[in-house]
Amino acid sequence: MTTRTQSVTAQPRERLYLQLYIATTLAIFVLMMLAGVVMRAVQGTYIHMSPDWFYQIMTLHGAGMVGIAGLAGVSIMWYFLRRYVSLTPGLFLANLILFIIGVVMILGAILLGKFGGGWTFLYPLPAKSMGLWSHNAAAAYVGGLLVIGIGFLLFYLDVARALLAKYGSLGRALGVNQLISGRIDTDHPPTVVASTMVLIVNTIGTLAGAVILVLTLVNLYYPTMQIDALWAKNLIYFFGHVFINATIYMAVIAVYELLPKYTGRPWKVTRPFLAAWSASTLMVIIVYPHHLLMDMVMPDWMLVLGQVISYLSGIPVLLVTTYGALVQIHHAKVRWDTPAKFLILAVFGWAAGVVPAIIDGTIVVNQVMHNTLWVPGHFHFYLLLGMLPMVLGFLFHISRHENETTKDRSVGMGFWIFMVSALLFIFMFLYSGVMSVPRRWAEHLAAWIPYDQWAALFGLVVLLSMLFFTVKLLARLTHIRLEA
């Protein structure tokens, strides 16, 4: 039924916007990685830095990475979705402009205003800095997040408009009607299914964010307006969890669209595929209580829900994607070019990273592992080795020459160096977690410092390989094609 509606001839304006997105994405990824390496180096005593600067850098790295992962995800979703429905270029650009304004506000809050309350701005910390930062600094940070949220909302509403215009309802775009009727339209694009899911969950998440951010602002200037801390935490983690999850669900579109180009097999929707995406739409929304397993005042049923859904939440989409990727490459004549390698690495990183996540989502384990470096261990696994390789695979693909056959050997080498160093870097986080090293500590005990030092070295190699990819990609920026 679904045919490509939009002309795929390159439009210079849209291409320019995409190039701006890509340049911003690459620059921020590299800078935030530098911040990450600096943190590991500080913990490893390679560099000396006052703890308040450490927490400022930690806030910068967290907010910057989450934000840029979102922006990169949007560029992938936009790139492919515009082939099926007609999106408004101006709103794609508006999102980037608001993002940059928000980033400037956040940078000001952190670097000038010394805000170091963590990217999660957990209530009541922004208002209780004990003199380290002013209310204005906290407000600039919170305001920056709000501005970024508005940008994303504009983009998602445009996606909603386009999907409703074509499919009539989001349920139909998600394929729910096909599940109910049992008649599966194998031509229904996986990109449309994934985009609809992201649109639904992120709009709800942004709404929760818009409420708690404004209440945090009110509390900053009217401290007598005291928010219930548990409600605040629920809303913040709901918003944060949904947003960072959605980055992967946007980026995975690159796997669905591009892997077939290297294997020669189309990626068709199936009944399990549609069922998985529908199920995950609901579960991503209700799984967030696994961040609150230590809050004994939470209702028990919510914590149990958090644990049970943690086992189920990511699994459906992950399974259909991993299975789909295996079907793609099994006995196929795969062209193992750089993009294909990154995409397969991404599926591995995502799948493998979910294992430590699920372990930690278990209440009895969480009582021990909560707030240890195990936690950054699992999320760096699926962000650094899952989300980021999806973005890199996408970028290397769309910037290749039309008939490129020669393989760039240096990028091929870079791929292996990136993969091995990132794995080692992540294992140091996980191992430190097993050794009960707490997360978010500027200073570590002497016994932990060797882990930090190894991690700093591995992190440095990851940073250098990313820098190398960035230089390569920026040099190819002019080759980018909208119909690649």
Partner: protein
Amino acid sequence: MTDNFRQAMFVMLVPVIIISHHWLETSMTSHMAVQLPLLVFVGALFAGLLQTYSPRLVVFGQRYRISLLLYSLFTISLWMLPRLLDAALYQSSIAFLKWLSLPLAGISLVLCWRHLPFVLRGILHLELLATLLRLGWLYLIAPQRYCVSYGINDQQQLGHVLLGYAAVYGLFLASSVLLGGRRAN
């Protein structure tokens, strides 16, 4: 909504609002969460009727959509201030303004609505939802009362009601986009 239904609603609601005004103004909850929205709603119904009888109004709505939107947003936001509720009880000029400005806000909103782009309408829907949640929450936690005429219990009750409205409104929005019906363009 058919025109007949609109007419019937309008004819019924106007006397109901006028007759019940003393009673609705005895509590902050019914004043803010029932009377004010009803005034806007009556205006909206009226505009719907006007549009069918005078198609030129559609052109008017198209031409002045931004001014109409700004007027209605400004007026509705202004009436969210508890201070004005008090004033409307004690100053007849403010009371008069309430009875005039809110139905006008409803009229302007309906006149401009269909000429607004989908994305802007979406933002307005979501912002209204967020505002209900934020205000509801703030009224629940505010340590002092903001209207001299009403007690703090009343203010907190209003908070609960606004959160309830948000829940219903959220479900309505979710079901209309998930299940669909009308197409966006």
